[in-house]
């Protein structure tokens, strides 16, 4: 009984961690699923989202001291909301530029796209170093979502509950957008049969631009949410891109719910091993991945290929 009582907080922690992993993977899933492009810059865009959030929460406007003073006088809650919504917009614009650069790689060896996004990742990371420097930064949070809550005799981070709730909201909004709106239908159709979509008169280039931009904006959303937990540093993107890649393959490429379930599984496994076999906590996600892919190569919710018997 004691064991179960002790286990419960770790299960809860695993679920919240899993939701955050799913949030990190969402944008990556969208771009891989719809455009069949592995965006290796996902991690750097995630980091860029953190830095834009930093800018919107506590801007350094050396040339405009009055504007800076006015802005900083706004409540922290307002500035945080501005960061949460504007940082993804700015990163989305970066994403658009990246998609425009990627157009020359479409229809060619996928290696070109990989190399381009890898190069973009390096450029973005260095850009961050140039603009913001390389030291650790902190994102200030509104009082209402910072601090701790007491559950029984355990302290848990209030912000983690907010972050998990936000992750659920982001997943639902994306699902509604893809399933219940005409634009979502176009995106899914574009993923299944781009030639037919083009034949129906839909501007495929614009659609791809939008999807890529949306995917990168989601990377930024994840970055803003994760900033207070992981801290902000230029190379933090590496910590995001690896689990994101693992989760979308585990869940099945292109499957939204696959990514969510895989994220939750990874979160639970990492959370539980962290508590009971801590030296395995990072390794556990890779072991889970190997275990699943060994028996189901297309991932948990991946569609069966015509080549499979």
């Amino acid at each position: 009984m004691d064991f179960l009582i002790n286990l419960l907080p770790h299960l809860l922690n695993g679920v919240t961690l899993g939701l955050l992993f799913a949030l990190i993977a969402l944008g990556f899933m969208l771009i891989v699923g719809v455009m069949e492009t592995i965006n290796l810059a996902h991690g750097s865009l995630f980091a860029l989202g953190m830095y834009f959030a930093l800018f919107f929460v506590a801007p350094q406007l050396g040339l405009l001291p009055d504007l800076q003073a006015w802005y900083l006088a706004l409540p922290i809650g307002t500035r945080y909301l501005a960061a949460l919504f504007l940082a993804p917009v700015f990163v989305g614009i970066f994403g658009m530029a990246l998609e425009l650069a990627m157009r020359r790689t479409y229809g060619r060896d996928p290696l070109y796209g990989l190399l381009l996004t890898f190069g973009a990742a390096l450029v973005i990371e260095e850009l961050i170093r140039v603009v913001w420097g390389s030291t650790e930064k902190q994102l200030a949070l509104p009082e209402s979502i910072s601090g701790a809550v007491l559950i029984g005799d355990l302290i848990y981070s209030k912000y983690r509950f907010f972050a998990s709730g936000f992750a659920i909201l982001a997943i639902l909004v994306l699902w509604l957008f893809l399933e219940k709106t005409p634009y979502g239908a176009m995106i899914k159709a574009g993923a299944h049969d781009s030639e037919m979509v083009r034949a129906l008169g839909i501007n495929l280039s614009r659609l791809r631009l939008f999807v890529f931009s949306l995917g990168t904006a989601l990377a930024a959303v994840a970055g803003v949410i994760m900033a207070p937990i992981w801290g902000i540093r230029p190379h933090v993107g590496v910590d995001a891109v690896v689990p994101a890649f693992l989760i979308i393959v585990l869940g099945g490429v292109g499957s939204l719910w696959g990514a969510v379930i895989a994220g939750l599984l990874v979160g639970l496994v990492v959370g539980l091993t962290g508590a009971y076999a801590s030296e395995w906590s990072l390794m556990s996600m890779y072991l889970l991945f190997i275990a699943v892919v060994t028996f189901r190569a297309r991932g948990l919710f991946g569609k069966k290929s015509v080549l499979e018997v």
Partner: protein, 444 residues
């Protein structure tokens, strides 16, 4: 064949002989005048022998610029560069200008090996300097020993570096986990209680530092209630912190470093666990805490230097850092920079004193070397233990400074402990230095 043709054929041979004679004379004359005569293999020396000037002394900087210790690696590199800059301003060493080459060792032992091999065999580095991650430092030192190249481990602190992984060519400049544990444990047991939990980075430094901590805690009547291993590059500590709450130790002793300790400190603060239990971080590197904010600098931790020590030379070193590296995000130097600086400075002094870059001559200058407290900007004299090659130095205990004299005055020095009191007594038995005879001669 006509005489004219024979004469014509003989001319090149005569010319070649003349050139050879002239070259030999020139080389001998150059040697007499003190310039480096050509003795070494052609591939090493042809450019400088042709140019008629002394070959620069190349120092290979094997510092991490990325990965868990990227931030610390960058700072120790600046420290080493500062010492090199000072020597070059005086005309270099042995009349040779000093050139530094840096390759990122990526906080990865395999990369450390590759970098060391390349620097020795291709870049003709005379010495190697740099190391924060003990696994990387160990890998570099194995390659250095193979060639006989003197290597300075500037900032990695696993007790094994001057214990079972010691080498004749390796010198360890930082305090190690055992030194810091000696400085901390007794007082912490009295002040905070007997039930300790160890939070250990899952690699050589973490393991050996926690091992030293465990030995001292248990030897002084304390109890280790659990040890949680933290894989490198862990960013989420929530499950660890829940476990800490469930176990309810009096003290959490961490041996966690680099980006991992930054994330841990922030997450401890977000749970408001920074006041209870008591936290002890074996060693706190300056780049891992700078900019984290006052709440995140909780607990007691060890260091080897602080930028506001009231000692001769400290202000000058800080001013030189700020002048040389204006606009740095880290506005004042810390322990990692300091180690990089004093280690490189001492190496170049030894080369000057030895009058040679020959490895054995330099090693003999270093073994047992005494350094005054004033010169090292610490409270007590330091020396290099000839049986372990570790620098025995002052260890400082610090905590957060709630009454800072200025913006970056974030540490409060709680105590300075002389090296004799924190000596790693087990190191001499564990360290088996290779003999001089079995260490290859190396000179660049």
């Amino acid at each position: 064949m006509s005489d004219r043709v024979k004469k014509h054929q003989a001319q090149p041979n005569e010319t070649r002989r003349k050139i050879l004679k002239a070259s030999a004379m020139a080389a001998a004359t150059a040697g007499a005048w003190g310039a480096a005569p050509f003795f070494g293999p052609w591939k090493h020396n042809h450019v400088w022998s042709q140019a008629g000037q002394k070959k620069p002394l190349v120092i290979g900087l094997t510092m991490d610029a990325s990965g868990q210790y990227g931030a610390s690696g960058s700072m120790e590199r600046l420290g080493a560069m500062m010492a090199i800059r000072e020597f070059n301003a005086k005309g270099g060493v042995l009349g040779r200008t000093i050139e530094a080459i840096h390759i990122d060792t990526e906080t990865t032992p395999a990369t450390g090996s590759r970098v060391a091999e390349r620097m020795i065999t291709r870049n003709e580095a005379a010495f190697l300097i740099g190391g924060v991650h003990s696994g990387v430092a160990n890998a570099i030192s194995q390659v250095a020993q193979k060639y006989g190249c003197v290597y300075f481990n500037t900032n990695s602190s696993s007790p094994t570096e001057s214990g079972k992984d010691c080498h004749r060519v390796k010198f360890v400049w930082d305090g190690n986990g055992t030194n810091f544990a000696h400085a901390i444990v007794k007082n912490a047991l009295k002040a905070n209680g007997n039930r300790w939990l160890l939070l250990t980075n899952d690699y050589v430094w973490g393991h050996n530092t926690s091992k030293a901590m465990r030995t001292l805690v248990e030897g002084n009547g304390g109890k280790i209630v659990d040890e949680l291993l933290v894989p490198q590059n862990t960013r989420d500590f929530s499950s660890y912190l829940l476990k800490v709450q469930q176990i309810k130790p009096d003290v959490v002793a961490t041996a966690v470093g680099g980006d991992d300790i930054k994330a841990l400190r922030q997450q401890v603060v977000s749970l408001k666990m920074n006041q209870k239990p008591a936290w002890i971080n074996n060693q706190q590197d300056w780049p891992d805490v700078y900019g984290l904010g006052p709440d995140a600098i909780f607990g007691v931790f060890g260091t080897t230097w602080y930028w506001r020590l009231d000692l001769p030379g400290v202000k000058e070193l800080v001013a030189a850092y700020q002048k040389t590296y204006p606009g740095m995000a880290i506005r004042v130097p810390g322990n990692v920079y300091y180690n990089g600086y004093v280690a490189t400075r001492e190496l170049l002094r030894c080369v000057e004193e030895a009058g040679s870059t020959n490895n054995v001559s330099v090693i003999k200058k270093l073994e047992g070397r005494k350094m005054t407290a004033r010169d090292r900007m610490q409270h007590f004299d330091a020396w290099i233990n000839p049986t372990t090659h570790q620098c025995q130095q002052t260890i400082y205990m610090a905590g957060y400074n709630d009454k800072p004299a200025e913006k970056d005055d974030i540490f409060r020095i709680l105590a300075q402990v002389p090296p004799q009191e924190v000596e790693d007594a087990g190191a001499p038995a564990a360290c088996k230095l290779e003999s001089y005879a079995s260490t290859p001669t190396y000179e660049q």
